[in-house]
């Protein structure tokens, strides 16, 4: 038995579309670093309070000038909070959790990663617009999950808080 002519055209069209999608994803991954945050690093959640980086997480500027923000997500807040960062500057967020799984989502942007106890999520994001953004927890984490909101202010002055 044969496949109907129109159905064959449709199948080639659908297959072609899928190939086009995958080619676009591959090209952007290779040339523009469009990749999901996939950092692999572990940390002990049981002793997180004494951890040099996450015990008292603070924004820091590395020797090469990069801004790095360690974030500890904990029922029901993000620490440090509030944050202030300069516009048009790459910011590296390093996120972990002290208890259950939380989400870290800068509302209105695609800065979005899971905060998982025992692991460190890391990604770099550049704010293009000054203003105040909410950081929402987007993974159910308990009774006050919805109220787990932080703030990040993006300032106009390059350099910002140092």
């Amino acid at each position: 038995m044969s496949v109907d002519k129109y159905e064959r055209i449709w199948m080639f069209g659908a297959g072609g579309l899928i190939v086009v999608f995958l080619v676009i994803i591959s090209i952007t991954a290779a040339t523009q670093a469009v990749r999901p945050p996939s950092h692999i690093e572990v940390v002990n959640p049981a002793t997180i309070a004494e951890h040099p980086e996450f015990g008292d997480p603070q924004l820091r500027v590395e020797a090469d000038g990069r801004i790095v923000i360690p974030v500890l997500a904990q029922m029901f807040g993000f620490f440090p909070d509030p944050l202030e960062v300069p516009v048009n500057t790459p910011i590296t967020f390093r996120i972990t959790s002290a208890d259950v799984v939380h989400g870290f989502q800068v509302v209105g942007t695609n800065a979005n990663a899971m905060a998982v106890p025992g692991y460190v999520s890391q990604f770099t994001y550049t704010f293009k617009k000054a203003g105040t953004y909410d950081i929402a927890c987007n993974e159910y984490c308990g009774l006050m999950h919805h109220a787990m909101v932080g703030k990040i202010t993006v300032t106009e002055a390059p350099g910002g808080q140092r």
Binding site: M11, S38, V101, N112, S121, D134, G142
Partner: protein, 546 residues
């Protein structure tokens, strides 16, 4: 070919199938009441007893009852009915009832711990949030019951194959068997999560748990789960819907190919749910992206074949123009109407799915209300509305009773389609604006609602329309079951293919494709899981949600 046109109403097999569907409808009714209250709560409408605690308990119950109980019991009942109708046998009726009681016992146990507030972990139950051990054990028993169901259907197929060694298995049974293979491949993941991680940890036998391994095993199960919901809907669209419309199945061979593609592609895709998880390399996320896009293909083919089958129906009724065949279709038949609107919803759901699968765009919508909007238009409409329509078709055939309240049965699919259109569109947009999913109140800590408060309110209105539709559905089911006019049970009739497959071909070699499916699952998961296992890691102690 045996089976086509079989009457099974009144037999013990019909009673078995009908009992499963009764449990499914009960779970649906309870979950629907909770759903409407959640919609109101998110939109900040005050009502008596509104509280954070009740909200999160009800989100857990709604998710478990709709996504796991309603679907599983319905699919088990449908699978029994179609197998009996097409193969003329169910081998192991006692095992089937054992499976039913195991699944029901597990469901009641898990539901009890949820409703008493001891397992408010949502239906994704991500550790280290910890539920009562009976929740995990109950959920496992639900799965074990469904495994027995799969075994009974497979045994029936093997027995039939002995009698008809050279005949390709009838199309609907082929689809149900493929569904069962996907279900075994999928549940292997969650069974490992339950038996190796969650149950020992919840009983206190081990102190800590690895949340990333647990999430990986969960999504090994969690994505093929959606095909477990979708494939029975496809079975009905391919084999019953054209029959009701008076058409033919446009391509028997391609329908078989579609189900086999699901068998091999539905499971090695889970990392697209974990794009933003740490601990999993970008390379493996990319590998799963490829398979995720590949699985769009069988759905594209389905769209063509099913619509072409319906066009055949219109042409047979004399339609000549480009589109006038659409008007000739039986839009007044509640079964057909529900299927057609469910298919239309899936067009939107499929586009949304392609967006979610591309991780650049996924970052914008991951864990936002968009996702909630997405699975309500896919599971919540494509599968659920198909199952509701199928209940209208099954009840007379299983119970020997005429469908009661036909006016309500005709109104119900429209209400569901419209309600879900409002609900899902609102939450898709709200999610794009950044509203996180699973929140008690859209104003979050109190002052964040500005960008999406109106959308959450629109979503609540959609939820009320959906609830009215659910009431219609439950009224029709109860009315038919208890007071439907007794009739001679109609026969199960299936669409005749334009060109029937008369010889067994490549797409009928279910055993071979199962092996291919297993190999792909191993390729997709063995390396990442072993690497995770070998890495020195720190487990998490349990936390109770409240």
């Amino acid at each position: 070919m045996s089976g086509t046109g079989a009457v099974i109403g009144g037999t013990p097999q019909a009673r078995l199938a009908a009992t499963h569907i009764a449990v499914a409808v009960t779970a649906f009714a309870v979950a629907a009441c909770m759903g409407v209250l959640q919609g109101l709560s998110i939109a900040d409408f005050e009502f008596p007893m509104r509280s954070e605690q009740l909200y999160y308990i009800s989100v857990t119950a709604h998710g478990v009852l709709m996504a796991l109980v309603f679907t599983t019991f319905f699919i088990m009942g449908l699978g029994y009915a179609l197998t009996q109708a097409q193969l003329g046998r169910l081998v192991g009726l006692k095992t089937a009832w054992l499976g039913f009681w195991v699944a029901l016992g597990g469901t009641v146990t898990a539901a009890y711990t949820i409703l008493t507030g001891q397992s408010t972990v949502l239906y994704t139950f991500y550790p280290p949030m910890q539920a009562h051990p009976a929740f995990y054990i109950g959920a496992t028993l639900l799965v074990v019951g469904s495994w027995l169901w799969g075994g009974v259907v497979i045994a029936s197929y093997r027995s039939w194959k002995k009698d008809y060694p050279d005949t390709p298995v009838p199309m609907a049974t082929h689809g149900i068997l493929a569904t069962i293979i996907v279900w075994y491949l999928a549940t292997a993941g969650v069974a490992m999560e339950m038996l190796l991680q969650l149950i020992p940890w919840s009983l206190g036998w081990v102190e800590t748990i690895d949340p990333i391994i647990a999430r990986t095993l969960f999504w090994w199960f969690g994505h093929p789960l959606v095909y477990f919901w979708l494939m029975p809907a496809y079975v009905l669209w391919y084999t019953v819907m054209p029959r009701i419309a008076g058409g033919r199945l446009f391509s028997d061979k391609l329908a078989r190919m579609v189900f086999i593609l699901f068998v091999i592609l539905s499971t090695p895709v889970g990392f697209h749910h974990q794009f933003t998880d740490p601990g999993i390399s970008a390379g493996w996320k990319f590998a799963h992206t490829i398979t995720t896009f590949a699985i769009l293909f069988p759905s594209f083919v389905t769209a063509f074949t099913v619509i072409a089958s319906l066009e055949v129906a219109g042409r047979l009724k004399g339609a000549k123009g480009l589109f006038d065949w659409i008007g000739t279709l039986p839009w007044k038949d509640p079964f057909f109407l529900a299927m057609a609107l469910a298919m239309l919803s899936f067009a939107f759901g499929g586009f949304g799915g392609a967006i979610n699968a591309a991780y650049g765009m996924n970052s914008m919508v991951h864990n936002t209300a968009w996702i909630m909007g997405h699975f309500h238009v896919t599971l919540g409409t494509t599968s659920a509305l198909t199952f509701m329509g199928a209940t209208y078709w099954l009840m007379p055939r299983l119970l020997g009773r005429q469908l009661a309240l036909p006016g309500l049965a005709r109104l119900q699919p429209w209400l569901w389609f419209i309600g879900m259109g409002i609900f899902s569109t609102s939450f898709h947009i709200a999610g794009l604006r950044g509203l996180p999913r699973r929140v008690y109140s859209a104003s979050l800590a109190g002052e964040q609602g500005g960008a999406w408060a109106d959308l959450a309110q629109a979503g609540a209105i959609g939820g009320i329309v959906l609830f009215l539709s659910a009431l219609c559905f439950v009224a029709v089911v109860l009315g038919t079951w208890l007071g439907g006019k007794r009739i001679e049970a109609p026969a199960f009739e299936f669409a005749v293919p334009l060109e029937p497959v008369t010889e067994k071909g490549l797409w009928d070699r279910l055993g071979f494709w199962t092996i291919v499916g297993i190999v792909l699952v191993i390729l997709a998961y063995a390396y990442p899981l072993i690497t995770l296992w070998m890495t020195p890691r720190f487990g998490s102690p349990p936390f109770q949600p409240f």
